[in-house]
């Protein structure tokens, strides 16, 4: 994927990713923090028992980060550790290697939104403190770090392109 940038990172307790987005920094921030239902793969990356219809990041330090089920239930994922719109967000990811919520587990996701031009934003993501997964750190690092296959990305791209041209 041309727009995904290889950071060649080797810290065993951290996964780093970056992507270039053709959108202004403020929009990138807004979509990331307020419109998770538009992009988070809720069909698979969820932990609740019911189908997930949205995920919410409460816009303040200490706010909850949680998924919303179609029956009105919510299911915590973590907390907001830093809230600095439109440039920096740090979230606690308190979901363990069995995909159960464990309050205080404390792996961290830092997201930086860097304006490269008026209409281009570089988004850097680091998922760190993976040592909090204990002896399953390497397994989890693989899950978070691995590059998805081209076929899936192309299929996903085709869907988005179709939506955009509707």
């Amino acid at each position: 994927m041309a727009d995904q940038i290889d950071l060649n990172w080797t810290d065993p307790n951290s996964v780093r990713k970056a992507i270039r987005v053709q959108a202004p920094q403020a929009i990138a921030w807004k979509v990331f923090t307020e419109q998770l239902d538009a992009w988070w793969p809720l069909a698979v990356y969820k932990i609740g028992k019911t189908a997930a219809v949205n995920a919410v990041i409460e816009p303040r330090v200490g706010g909850r980060w949680y998924e919303c089920g179609d029956d009105g239930s919510t299911c915590d994922w973590g907390r907001v550790l830093a809230w600095e719109p439109p440039s920096r967000l740090v979230l606690a990811w308190d979901i363990n290697a069995d995909f159960q919520y464990v309050p205080g587990l404390g792996t961290e996701i830092e997201v930086r939104f860097i304006a490269e031009s008026a209409n281009t934003t570089r988004v850097e993501l680091e998922h760190r403190k993976l040592d909090r997964f204990g002896d399953r750190r390497d397994q989890m690092r693989t899950i978070f770090d691995q590059t998805g296959d081209w076929g899936k990305l192309l299929a996903s791209f085709a869907q988005a392109a179709e939506r955009a041209t509707d």
């Binding site: 987005v21 538009a38 988070w40 691995q146 791209f157």
Partner: protein, 107 residues
Amino acid sequence: MINAERALDALGDPTRRRVFAKLRNRVCTAGELAQGMEVSRPAVSQHLQVLRAAGLVVVRADGTRRLYQVDSRGIDAVRRWFDGFWDETLESFRQAAESAANEKGRP
């Protein structure tokens, strides 16, 4: 509804993993699966029930025989869990952010 958690739970059992592994490249009956395993045929049938409920295996009738085979839907769900969590998630985010930027740019 097929989801990765159920599939992963089902594969958490070592005997079920062996049953499932045997089905990877072929279609067969519960009796054939039980051959060479240390568990009884009824036990194999029970494991097949769990694999079916998890969306990993499907069964079809062939005359009087019931033939089991891998259900690719369950495999896809599991693969998505393990394939590039952040790559997939960020790519999806990029598409959403660019759609939002395009909408805003329109007159």
